[in-house]
């Protein structure tokens, strides 16, 4: 049989296995090892490189290259399925313009240099001014990569200026969880999607952004199960097509809707008195709002939500009063299970923490919490936003395992675990993302006290809001130095002074943590191109260079290197020399060290080798009497969480109020920081598309994905377009107070904005929508609001109709 026939047989076998047994059959035919074996490829597991769903793929390789991808049937998350991005994931390694060599800007020209020189350049910058050095990282960092960067900065340099791009996507979810439950991350898991009766999407488009998760729900429905799906959104999307109800609200007014539900629960007497009495306290804002607010009674809470009648909410939000009643009635029914889903829509919001609090609040008030299917669940956009950012704590205020720099006890524990001299960890939080870049883009003599930023695994040149101010302004500041570790040229490498080629995905070992608290491990499978190297190694090599120069900050209590890794015989392993990096499993050594941090907040991780065997495990992973390790699907629920006191039924054991109770918040609706006016009369919202992952750095290198969605566009409502005589495909001028750009119009395209709103995706590096967005951010999470600002659109005189850059609206016929 020819190899191609083997592949085809494997493809069919995988499809048959994923589709399930024939009627009358009870077992699914196994496809994996035997069929995969036939292809002559070697197969190994890895999590998908893209979104926070965390699907597992089987990677087939041959002659040192990735040749095939199959959904991993043994993985609970995706049961063999993948979305269009996931099944092309192997091709991201093979774009022709992979970065292969370190390049330094000399006299304005990027010049190839050796790794040795590159490491020296960075070490020089650190030594010259350690306090002015910053790292800007990512929710795509592996857990060991983030952990190393964190320890290098906070444990080594005593400098807390490290923050990740996840600040731009889920920081409000973090502050929402912490201020509600006292500890971060969702209580439930994806099983909630399999068991809910009602699924409510709050400003969320999982059909495009988390497609495999969404297909779990669609699949239930096509099996004949009844699921009520409700889309609460500001624009119709592919998700809306699957929903029975679409509640279109005016941007920013989701807080009024949530308060409206609470109002009805109380007014109708349908709130869950027993759950609330046993497990909740109430909170409201202090005069100057803080994350912890002030304690209030139920009676005070009742008074605060009193004004939010369905009619009042309709006036604010535009959602008809009867639809608000529908939500109130659903939450008031105890015999159904309700799951709320959200992602960037609620998080990229200047009231992001507040709306997170309110959605948790309606679930707590109604008792729709803690049973499978009854859950407020936030999703993450990046594959390890939870694992690397939230758990390792690579945020400017955090330390590993849910600790914070401002807490003396936490600092002392960290110093002990890191074997550092007492007092090394700085108590003052570092600069969060927007502030870090603002300081970097401000002249030093005017207070711009960040001189160097090292960017790893992210592309701020495309994703920062108000890009001119927060990124481009660096161009004129000669004493500022930008280092970018990347896999392909991007808007960030374009401005960089030093570019370091990085290994990507299965070109290195890794560990990720997905949206449902699942930690996933994989091994290096193929070599990176040219001289590209692991990000983890890059940081460790700089740390070692500093140590060898005698830089005190890289020494622990006993004078040893802070990243000391030793053989069993006690001899030091020189892994900082690239040729020795894989002599040992550095990831495993770092993970085992990090694991010690995870007990404090009951985010217990198992030993590294358990993850090698498993297809991910959800923390807390607790060792059983027989020595095996058991994961936890439902936190705070006695039936599943080993840390809940017997008989308590539910227990929020990290409660803010230290009494095992969660907080139900009142947070009022407030006006957005910028609204349409006479000059800029429309709303602009930004977001993602199915085919591209974030800034498109990887997916634009996959011809199938690039062709499917070749360029950015502006979605317009047909009435708005007709009013100005704009036709589909025409390039128009889109302007905000911060900038302007020309884009082709897509009317009646994939998404359908209402009148008065336009939408632009942010994946296209040739059309940078963040030249237009507002940098206003949530006061607690510091997360910017990319979802709304005021905009105007205009025809360009004499601009002919053209399709350039327009998504292929008519490409449905087979070729």
């Amino acid at each position: 049989m020819k190899r191609r026939d083997f592949l085809k047989r494997s493809a069919m076998a995988a499809a048959v296995a994923a589709a399930g047994p024939l009627p009358g059959q009870t077992t699914v035919p196994e496809y994996t090892e035997s069929a995969e074996g036939d292809t002559g490829l070697e197969w190994e597991k890895a999590p998908c490189r893209f979104c926070g769903t965390g699907c597992h793929v089987m990677v087939g390789r041959e002659n040192g290259k990735v040749r095939a991808i199959a959904g991993d049937r043994k993985a609970d998350v995706n049961k063999g399925l993948l979305c269009v991005k996931g099944y092309h994931v192997g091709m991201i390694l093979y774009g022709q313009d992979r970065l292969r060599y370190p390049m330094l800007r000399k006299n304005g020209e990027m010049t190839r240099i050796s790794w040795d020189e590159a490491i020296d350049v960075i070490a020089d910058r650190v030594e010259a001014d350690p306090a002015a050095f910053a790292i800007y990282g990512s929710g795509q960092w592996t857990i060991p990569e983030g952990y190393v960067a964190q320890k290098f900065m906070k444990g080594g340099l005593a400098n807390n200026h490290i923050d990740p791009n996840a600040r731009l996507c889920m920081a409000s979810a973090v502050t929402g969880f912490i201020s509600t439950y006292g500890v971060d991350e969702p209580a439930g898991c994806y099983q909630d999607l399999d068991e809910c009766d009602v699924l409510i999407m709050w400003g969320n488009n999982p059909a495009e952004m988390h497609p495999v998760l969404f297909s779990r729900v669609v699949d239930r429905r096509s099996r004949g199960e009844e699921i009520l799906m409700i889309d609460i959104g500001t624009r119709r999307t592919r998700t809306t097509d699957h929903c029975q109800h679409y509640l279109e609200f005016k941007p920013h007014t989701d807080l009024a809707i949530a308060n409206g539900i609470a109002h009805l629960l109380i007014k109708n007497g349908t709130w869950d008195k027993k759950f609330v009495e046993n497990h909740c306290n109430f909170r409201a804002d202090t005069e100057k709002p803080t994350l912890l607010g002030r304690e209030i009674t139920f009676e005070e809470y009742k008074k605060l939500v009193e004004p939010y009648t369905p009619e009042y909410v309709e006036k604010i939000s535009g959602v008809p009063a009867e639809k608000i009643r529908l939500l109130g009635d659903l939450f008031g029914q105890r015999d159904i299970r309700i799951c709320s889903l959200w992602c960037m829509g609620m998080n990229q919001h200047t009231r992001g923490t507040a709306i997170n609090n309110l959605v948790h609040g309606v679930h707590l008030l109604s008792g729709h919490f803690g049973r499978p299917g009854d859950a407020p669940t936030s999703l993450t956009g990046q594959p390890s936003a939870c694992g690397t950012v939230r758990e390792v704590g690579t945020l400017a205020h955090a330390l590993p395992g849910g600790r914070v720099v401002a807490n003396a006890e936490h600092r002392a524990e960290t110093e002990k675990l890191w074997n550092l001299p007492e007092g090394r960890v700085n108590a003052k939080p570092g600069y969060h993302t927007v502030l870090m870049w603002e300081k970097f883009c401000t002249p030093t003599e005017e207070g711009g006290d960040i001189g160097t930023i090292w960017v790893q695994v992210t592309n701020p040149g495309q994703t920062l809001p108000n890009r001119h101010k927060l990124f481009e302004a660096k161009r004129d500041l000669k004493d500022k130095f930008l280092i970018v570790s990347e896999v392909y040229p991007t808007a960030s490498t374009e401005l960089a002074d030093l570019v370091l080629p990085a290994a990507l995905w299965v070109e290195k070992n890794g560990v990720y943590g997905n949206s449902e608290r699942r930690t996933q491990q994989w091994f290096k499978m193929v070599e990176p191109p040219g001289e590209a190297r692991d990000d983890c190694w890059q940081t460790l090599a700089v740390a070692r260079r500093l140590y060898e120069r005698g830089f005190e900050a890289m020494k622990g209590r006993d004078g040893r290197f802070i990243f000391d890794i030793r053989n069993e015989d006690g001899s030091e392993i020189p892994y900082w020399k690239w040729e020795h990096y894989y002599d040992t499993n550095v990831d495993k050594a770092l993970f085992e060290e990090y694991r010690q941090f995870t007990r404090l907040k009951h985010k217990d991780l198992a030993p590294y080798d358990e993850y090698v065997r498993a297809h991910g495990l959800r923390w807390p992973v607790v060792q059983q009497q027989d020595g095996t390790w058991r994961e936890t699907k439902f936190r705070f629920s006695e039936f599943d969480d080993p840390y809940v006191t017997k008989g308590a039924e539910f227990e929020f054991y990290h409660s803010v109020t230290k009494d095992g109770r969660a907080l139900i918040w009142f947070r009022p609706y407030e006006e957005p920081p910028e609204s349409p006016d006479d000059e800029f009369p429309m709303w602009l919202s930004t977001g993602r598309v199915l085919e591209h992952w974030h800034t498109g750095t990887m997916t634009m290198r996959v011809p199938q994905l690039r062709r499917a969605m070749p360029g950015a566009y502006v979605e317009m409502n047909p009435k708005d377009a007709a009013r100005q005589g704009i036709v589909n495909g025409e390039r128009i001028l889109v302007e905000t107070r911060r900038g302007s750009m020309e884009l082709p119009v897509w009317v009646e395209g994939r998404g359908h904005p209402p009148e008065g709103t336009v939408f632009i995706p942010f994946f296209d590096e040739t059309l940078l929508v963040n030249d237009l967005t507002l940098e206003a951010y949530d006061p607690f999470s510091k997360q910017p609001d990319f979802k709304k600002c005021a905009v105007r659109v205009r025809r360009i005189p004499n601009e002919p109709y053209q399709e350039k850059g327009l998504a292929p609206v008519n490409a449905n016929a087979p070729g």
Partner: protein, 88 residues
């Protein structure tokens, strides 16, 4: 020259689903197995990436197919082809 394995979720409307199966079977690049309930396993073998892409779109738009899940994909060995270069 990609080979892929797909699972198609067929619509609850038996008539349209049957028409979709017939339309799929009529295409030489597509091989169908017997449906499992509303799930139809198919293997797709196209000559080049353009055809692969177009076929995927066609399936996606086919009345009677509610959802496509991809469970297997192989990549061409000619990753240095002009098409990939053009992507960059």
């Amino acid at each position: 020259m990609p080979v892929s394995g797909l699972v198609l979720t067929l619509s609850a409307n038996g008539g349209t689903a049957a028409e979709a199966i017939s339309a799929l079977k009529a295409r030489p690049e597509i091989e169908c197995e017997a449906p499992r309930g509303n799930k139809l396993p198919v293997a797709v073998d196209t000559l080049d990436r353009t055809k692969d892409q177009a076929l995927w779109r066609w399936i996606n738009e086919l009345p009677g197919v509610d959802f496509i899940d991809v469970v297997f994909i192989s990549f061409p060995e000619d990753e240095d082809s002009p098409e990939v270069a053009e992507a960059c």
